[in-house]
Each structure stands twice: as C-alpha cells, then as structure tokens.
Symmetry: C2
Subunit: 428 residues, 2 copies
C-alpha cells in the first residue's frame, strides 16, 4: 500500500550545446530534463522525467507542478485499481486540457509523472519495468489503454488478443534477448555540427565496435548531405544499414526530391522528412520513396497521430518516445497499434536518459506485443548515461537487458545537484 507523500520537481540542464552534440537541422540546445521524484511512505521512491532542449525546461517543470495534484497523496493501489481514470485525471483535467489537448508541454509533463509512477511500482514489485509489463495479465495491460479516439483502429478485444498471443513463446524470446541483447543502432556518427573528418572517424569507430546500423542527420544543404552520406557509406560498406534523419525541415515535395538524390547511399529509412503533424504528407512521401521506409514518432504528439500514420500507411517504421506522450500507458497503446498494423517499432532515444527508458519499452514490445525482432532496433546515443544510477550497457552494438528494479530512470543525486538550473555549480 505504498502512498505518494510528496512530489519534487528538478530543473536539470546539461551544458551540451557548446560541443555541437545533438545538433540537427532544427534542434540545438542544452540537453535537459524535467525530473520528478515521488517520495512515499515506504522504502521506495519513484523517478520519472521528460527531456527538453534547455530553455523552456521551466515550462515542463511548471506543468508537472500543475498536474501533480492528481498524483499527490494517492496510493499505488488506488492508481492501478483504475489506471484509465488515473490517465484521464491528467489528460482530461477540465481546466488544463485546453492547453493541449494531449500535446506539447502539458503532455510531456504528464509523461514525466506517469513514468515516475510506473518506476515506483516496478521498484515496489522488485522488477525491471520490462519484466513487470511482460508478466502482467492481459486485462491489466488493456486497462491501462485509453481507447477513446483510437477505437476505430484498435478495440479492447483486439488489444487483448494481441497481448494473449504474446504469452506464446515469451520464454524463448526472453532467452534470446538475454543471450543476444537488444539490437540497436547508433546516432552518434553524424550530427550536423560535426566536421567531415569527425564523421568519418566516428563511423569507422562505430563499425569497429560492432555497430551495423548507423544514423546520420540530413536536412542542411542537400549537396552537403549527399557528400556526407557517401562518406559514411564508404566507411561502413554496403551491408550496414544507414538511416537518415531530416528532423522535419523539408516540405513534402522537397522531401521526395531530396530523397531521390540521397537514394544513392542506399538509406534504410528517412526519419522525420516533414512536419510531425502531417499525416497525409508522410503518406505521400512514403508512397514516393518506397522501398526506403519513412520513420517518425519522436515528436508525434499522441496516440491519435500514431493511429493515423498507421491507418494512412504513412510509415514503414514507427518510432515511439518514452517522454513525449503521456507515459507508459499511452506507449502501450501505441505498441498495440503498431502490432495491429504490422509496423515494426524502433524507439527514439538519445537526449537525457531516453536510452535508459526505451530499452524497457522495446523489450516489452518484443516479448509481449510485436513478438519479433524483425526490423526492430533501439536507437543508441552515447551521451549523459553517467548521470543515471542504472545506465544502459551495450555489448557489440547491442543493449544488454537491464536487471535492476524500476524504469532505469533514477538520476544520481550529485548530478541533479550539480546541473540544477539556474543555481547548481555547473550553471553558476
């Protein structure tokens, strides 16, 4: 009967902008987190966060404070007796909903809180989150999904059937993940802020470390993009996968034209070719660039956008984010939608702690929902793991399954203190 007795919110910012890390066609900043700690009447605390790009992290912090009333004083037993009611208390607050609905600052704050509640529950039950989810009864998982506004694409009965099916062969899939790890790809080779020599050296080093899938940023000058793509392809050879990420800068027709030029480098997917809200645009691009796959999702606002991307055949790879949407329950909805439509899920990671979180979601997907590794990889970015108490571990280009109880979301107290904005020593 763990009860949440206090909620603290930390504005944590890492000064990454100066190094060019994480620079792409549209985002630049200091990788930051709105970090939530749930104090309880028991021995455990819950940790959750949402990732931001620095400036504005105070907005998601303030949004967590505005939403915290729906978590403060509640027990885990109450929250999970009716997880849908809990979810809607956050997403359908009759005064706050106008500020979204279910998108942007408010929804990211919802994710931070919900993630912290799940972290707490997993710690109380002594399991890593992926195991907690994979072992839950089908009805308990279905109860976490808000089917409102997605029922035309996925019914509760269909969701239950997918999850029931996921029990078959689960032990074998778990043995495989235990033995081989989680397939992944690296994004650390081709940020726009890096010069050619650095890109070449990083691609070579990544290949030597065992990575057989790498992602580069595109969306700057197209001639530059073409040159860098050729350069990376030359380093990694014809068999490794090369993914491209335009971070939304192109118009629909521009995306189609540019991918014709970039096709020479044999890209596996083009990620975020245009505006993340443009379902019809992604659908047109996907039809034009096939067999190159369109991938998107890190900035997809909610399950309603994902539903439409799938209904429209707009994506060949679905990228979920652990912190953009309303937390674990909404991600379960999105994984189920992807399974229903037969599209593989390759979670977005990087930022602050996103790798730590999505490894759990990925393992749950493989074990219980998507039930396969075909076309599935987790993004990997080699930044900021040192600030977490249970950082990701990789071996030969694959994540090692996390073992500690919880959602791997807990940040080191000394990191929180040092990078607290604006008063921590790193910012003074």
């Amino acid at each position: 009967m763990t009860r949440i007795t206090d909620i603290s919110v930390h504005d944590v910012r890492f000064p990454t902008a100066a190094a060019g890390d994480g620079s792409d066609a549209i985002n630049r900043g200091d990788y930051s987190a709105t970090y939530v700690e749930l104090g309880t009447d028991g021995p455990h605390t819950g940790a959750g966060f949402t990732f931001t790009n620095g400036r504005g992290n105070e907005l998601t912090c303030a949004a967590v404070r505005a939403l915290a009333v729906h978590v403060q004083g509640r027990s885990l037993a109450e929250l999970f007796a009716d997880p849908l009611a809990f979810h809607r208390s956050l997403t359908a607050d009759p005064q706050l909903r106008w500020l979204g609905p279910e998108k942007g600052v408010l929804h990211m704050a919802t994710g931070a809180l919900v993630n912290a509640v799940w972290d707490l529950r997993a710690k109380v039950e002594g399991k890593p989150l992926w195991r907690l989810l994979a072992e839950l009864p089908t009805a308990d998982l279905v109860a976490c999904v808000d089917f409102r506004h997605i029922a035309d694409a996925l019914t509760p009965a269909e969701a239950a059937a997918i999850l029931d099916k996921g029990r078959t062969g689960l032990d074998q899939r778990l043995a495989m993940l235990d033995r081989d790890g989680l397939p992944s790809y690296t994004t650390s080779v081709g940020w726009l802020g890096y010069p050619d020599d650095k890109v070449r050296a990083l691609a070579r080093a990544a290949y030597a470390d065992g990575w057989r899938a790498m992602k580069m940023k595109v969306g700057g000058d197209i001639a530059d993009d073409v040159r860098r793509a050729a350069l990376i392809r030359a380093e990694i050879g014809p068999d490794a996968l090369l993914m491209m990420d335009a971070n939304q800068v192109w118009d629909v027709d521009e995306a189609i034209a540019n991918m014709r030029r970039l096709a020479n480098a044999d890209p596996y997917w083009i990620e975020e070719p245009t505006h993340p809200d443009d379902v019809l645009g992604h659908a047109r691009i996907q039809r034009a660039v096939a067999p190159i796959r369109v991938a998107t999702g890190e900035v997809a606002a909610n399950r309603v956008i994902f539903k439409q991307l799938l209904q429209a055949g707009a994506i060949g790879v679905m990228q979920i984010d652990a912190c953009r949407v309303g937390g674990v329950g909404e991600v379960i909805a999105e994984l189920l939608l992807a399974a229903k439509f037969g599209v593989p899920v390759c979670p977005h990671a990087g930022g602050v702690g996103l790798c730590e979180l999505v490894q759990h979601l990925f393992a749950f997907d493989v074990l219980r929902v998507g039930r396969s590794l075909d076309g599935r990889m987790v993004e990997y970015v080699d930044h900021l793991h040192e600030h977490f108490t249970d950082p990701v571990r990789t071996r030969g280009g694959r994540y090692v399954l996390p073992e500690q109880p919880g959602y791997s979301a807990t940040m080191r107290p000394e990191s929180i203190a040092r990078y607290a904005f604006p008063d921590g020593p790193a910012w003074r």
Copy 2:
C-alpha cells in the same frame, strides 16, 4: 520607428466556473487570459492575449516570458521588414521548438505575442486591424505567411493570386459590412451546465433579439442531447440554423451513430465531433453525416492540421481561432488555405476576448480572401465584453464593424487589476 521597450505579462482569471458558463462536454473552468502589454518608446502600447480555462494560465504566462526575448527591444519596422523571420524566431527557436512544435502552451504564447505586435502596429497606423490587413499590398501579406510545411497545398503564387483577386469588389463588400454588420450566431443558448428551462428561455430570447443561428452543446448523454435539440428546434422554428458542438468527446464511429439520432433536429453543422488531431477521423465522419457539415478548428494546433483537414475533405466549415495558433500571420495562412479549397470560415469565439479579436479576422476574410458571406458567420458569446476598452457591439444578431485603431485587444486596467491571479481583489 516605434520600438518595443518592455513586455509585461498578466495572469488574469475571471471566476466563471461557478455559474456553469462555458461548460461543455470536456472543458470547465474559470475563463482566463494570458495578457501581454508591449510598452514602447512612442505614444502607443500593444495588447495581445491568449485564452485559457483557468488553471494552467501560469504556464502560458511563463511561455510568453520565455519567448519575449524575440520581441524585446525590436522595432515595428524591423519586425515587419521580414515578418517570416520574426514568426520563425518564435516558432523555430532551436531550444524551445522541442516543446511544441507549433502546438499547445508554446504556440498559444506565440499567438499572444504576435497578436500584441499586430495590435501595436494597427494603433500606430491608426486603423482597426481588419482595415490595416485589407489594405495591405499583396506582397506584404504573403510575406507574413510561413509556407514551410504547407507548400504542397498552397504556394506563394497561389496565395498572391487569391489576395490580388480580393482587391476586386472590396469597396462594395466593405459597404455591405458597414451597412449590414457581420453575420453571426450565438452559443449562449445551450451550455451543458444549463437546465432545460433556461435553455428554452434563452433560445426564445435569442430568436426575439434577431439571431437566426444558434449553437448547442452535445456530447453528454445522447438521450439528453436529443431532447434538448428538439426543445431548441421547437423554440426557433424550422428556418433558423441549429449548430451542434460535441467538444471532441466522441469516437469516430460514435460520432457517426450519434449524428444519425440528432439528425431529426436538422443540424447545420456538427462541431468537434472527435479528437482535434484526427484528420482521417473527421474525413470519415464528414462522408458519413453529409449534408450535415463537419466543423472544427478551435483546437486545431496549427496550419499543418488545417491543411490536412482541407486536403482530406474532412470539413465543410473551417473554424479559426485567434489565439490558439501563432497569431495573425498564421491565421492569414489558414484563411488562404480555406479560400484555396473553397471552404467557408466561421471563426471560433467566446472565451475571454475572442469575439473582440475574430471580428477583425472575419472582416479581413470577407473583404480580401474569401470574398463572400456565403456560409460565413462569426460565433458570438455574451460574456466578459465589459472588460475590454473596445468591446464588440451587436445589432439584430450581427456584429457591428469595429472602428477604433488596433485589434480590440486592450483590456481595462481596472479589470486586469481586479482579476489578477492570485493577488487581485477578486481572488483574495
């Protein structure tokens, strides 16, 4: 050469929740405004705001403060020398954009700031905003539009052609608006919080006052909705228009089924039948319920959503909001898109001061973009006008064209002081 020398942000909240005003299937709260005042080195100040439902108004206030750096210290001449660069400084801030992009708290704050800048410009030029816009050279209007991500539906050349055409007959249309006022409809008859007797009395009174188009809220219990619809239709007779507004609560199939039952009352449109992000869902509903029109837009996040609603044939009426999107420039883009696709625009109003703003946008649309009154009406809600220095005026169910310079956005200082949250006398 007016320069913006200081920016003040006021958290203003009116205690409307207790009266049931503004209650619908999904929103309830204290009508509030994030109110922005631009001080200048000249005799004028600029006023702009975004509307919220009370709790959370501190978030839009904080977002205005985060964005204010892009306005502080700039001159009107600079901002309008390259209005697209100004727009993108707000919507594509490399650190803040992650919190949207172009949606929710951040985009509403963008709207408040941009609206204040336009109010200031209109005051400096001594014209009501509608006149300023209607008289601008085509190139100046086109320069305000961000075509990125909508160029597949509307090119700069197409936009220019629409605006050039809008010069023809402008004087006649202006004479008509001057003489007859702006056609409008009233939403004050059927909030969900009102009992049947009050609804009946309000419908009768509105009809007596000259209104021939009224909107009721639906989306509660369907049997209640059917009963209330019949009751209003009986009061207003067969010829007046009855619109229905579900405020997003239905699933796609539920919307279709419920509109079959409500069709008896001969609704003209069904507004927000489902989730505002669901372009494909709205398209399915529109096909199923025709000739009843689907209307939406007050919570459409940005021009990319509007573009798709039009491309998909998902709406028969487009509802723009003055404060949800990124201000006047983005609304111009949306009006142009609607004109391109031949869909009439009926602006969303109500809230705090939305009637005051949208009358300008509506007049500009009729004069220069849509060039017709066919199917066009402005929403009217009889709340909170007394707090503005240039409140809307109506005559026989129509708005009277505003005449004072500016965007009618200026709130009375005594109202700002009295309803300041949490320290104003009304809240202490």
